[in-house]
């Protein structure tokens, strides 16, 4: 992917980011704010104690229509879309024939259609895959004229209530079309930080007005991709391309919770045979949390060994967790070593450092009760 700024796409909030003093970096083909002048630590901590506003307009948004849309999408994902009630959101994955993960995504039952949010780096491939996979049964349309804002943190509900009173009553993983500060939006009570919050799909032309209106609220500060990463890591949430990819299955990635009993039994999604076998026999490796004993952060690709020095896996995400006030990581280990508390070694710059397998998340989720 080119990193020449002139070839990178801009979100509708580009001018606002520059005005706010953001440091812009290339990410998934876009120029995105990695941090604002406050810095990653302050932005992370602000999100945990008040409310952070994130521009996630680079992510893909799509709608799927057609009478057979539910069955058509279930043929591509292991998630239970049939059981998804109107106004409810579900996390699932697009899988390939080997059970590998093509992308992870949110699927919303928006009544007469499904509303999807997919990762930025995968969106072109996802849309093509969805179109091909549902051809003749459903219509897939990417929403290219919309921005996506995330308002995350314990003050998010109070802030949103001032701009759209109905937002307060929404449960976690619910969805409603709402007028926010006079602008028609699609509001999801969801996020990628472990905190309560909302993701707001807004027409691109009105995104800056809405963002400025949200930033007028005393509790709200802009937060960049740097803190988005440390927040989601502490929350134990997967980053596509690092923690999950075509080489990992939902079972290995400890995402089994996202596959319902019916879908486990019936299959009918790509890679079902592999995934059902892993569910029955147990996978050979598992994604786990890793807590270093000392203070050295272990970054992605750090080798993991057992206490005898035998290779048992690799770190897929890791760094300093500001709310933990210490290093945190996640990675894959041999299933025999996946039990919480198991001692392992992380080989950081050639030095084996002690760590142990830890429960995820590192920071408890504080989602609003559904």
């Amino acid at each position: 992917m080119s990193e020449d700024p002139s070839t990178l796409a801009r979100t509708p909030l580009h001018a606002l980011h520059l005005e706010l003093g953001a440091k812009m970096v290339p990410f998934a083909g876009y120029q995105m704010p990695v941090q604002y002048p406050a810095g990653v630590l302050a932005e992370h901590n602000h999100t945990r104690c008040a409310a952070g506003l994130f521009d996630v307009s680079h992510m893909g948004q799509a709608v799927i229509t057609g009478a057979d849309r539910v069955a058509a999408v279930e043929a591509l994902v292991p998630g239970d879309i049939q059981a998804l009630q109107p106004g409810r959101i579900r996390y699932t994955q697009l899988t390939d024939q080997q059970g590998g993960i093509l992308d992870d995504l949110m699927v919303t039952n928006a009544g007469d259609h499904l509303f999807l949010v997919v990762n930025a780096a995968c969106k072109a491939a996802d849309i093509a895959h969805l179109k091909a996979g549902t051809a003749g049964r459903a219509e897939v349309a990417e929403l290219t004229d919309r921005a996506l804002l995330a308002l995350q943190g314990p003050a998010a509900e109070a802030v949103m209530s001032r701009l759209a009173p109905e937002a307060a009553g929404m449960g976690f993983m619910s969805f409603r079309p709402l007028v926010v500060a006079g602008i028609p939006c699609l509001v999801s009570r969801s996020g990628y930080t472990g905190e309560d919050g909302y993701e707001i799909s807004v027409p691109g032309g009105q995104a800056e007005v809405l963002a400025r209106r949200l930033l007028e609220e005393a509790e709200v500060r802009p937060v960049g991709l740097g803190a988005r990463d440390s927040l989601r890591l502490e929350a134990g949430l997967c980053l596509y391309g690092s923690d999950i990819d075509r080489g990992t299955t939902p079972v290995e990635a400890a995402l089994t919770w996202s596959i319902s009993k019916r879908r486990r039994a019936e299959g009918g999604f790509p890679g079902a045979a592999v995934i059902q076998r892993q569910l029955a026999e147990g996978p050979s490796r598992l994604r786990v949390g890793l807590k270093p004993v000392d203070k050295a952060p272990a970054r992605a690709h750090t080798p993991i060994t057992d206490t005898q020095g035998r290779p048992v896996g690799e770190v897929t995400s890791g760094g300093f967790g500001p709310s933990v006030n210490g290093p945190v990581a996640m990675g894959y280990v041999d299933a025999a070593l996946a039990r919480t508390g198991t001692p392992v070694m992380l080989v950081v710059r050639g030095t084996a450092r002690p760590a142990h397998v830890a429960d995820l998340p590192f920071v408890p989720h504080r989602y609003r009760k559904a």
Binding site: A42, S230, K295, P297, R299, F320
Partner: protein, 125 residues
């Protein structure tokens, strides 16, 4: 009287007699962002010019500190190990990383002085 030299990797070395004190520049700490971890070399270790001698990590990334000169490590600044944030506050003074007994002071001739380093940094912006 001491003299300070700079590297293109954004380290500084302040030389007084045969002892050089090494740290990272304000440009480097600013580019790194909030420093959360520092790893320093063992006392008595012999390092060659340009080798990875310390590590400084921010929330975002890990970065090596290369020794601007060859010599033996004679002191390390434990304050920045216990309080890594000091690097953001005082990287060109109290938040130095290590001190070296220089084994080949002639190596310093290849480094930049402050005006040259400031021009170098301007060229990066």
């Amino acid at each position: 009287m001491s003299k300070t030299y700079f590297t293109s990797e954004h380290e500084w070395i302040d030389v007084e007699g045969e002892i050089g004190t090494v740290g990272i520049t304000d440009y480097a700490q600013h580019a790194l962002g909030d420093v959360v971890f520092v790893e320093l070399p063992a006392l008595g270790k012999t390092v060659a010019k340009g080798t990875e001698t310390a590590v400084v990590e921010s929330v975002k990334a890990a970065s090596e500190v290369f020794s601007p000169a060859s010599g033996e490590i004679v002191a390390t600044n434990d304050a920045i190990v216990s309080q890594p944030g000091l690097v953001n506050e005082a990287c060109e003074s109290t938040a130095w990383f290590f001190k070296l007994r220089l084994s080949n002071p002639a190596e310093l001739n290849g480094l930049m002085d402050r005006p040259a380093y400031e021009d170098f940094v301007k060229g990066l912006e």
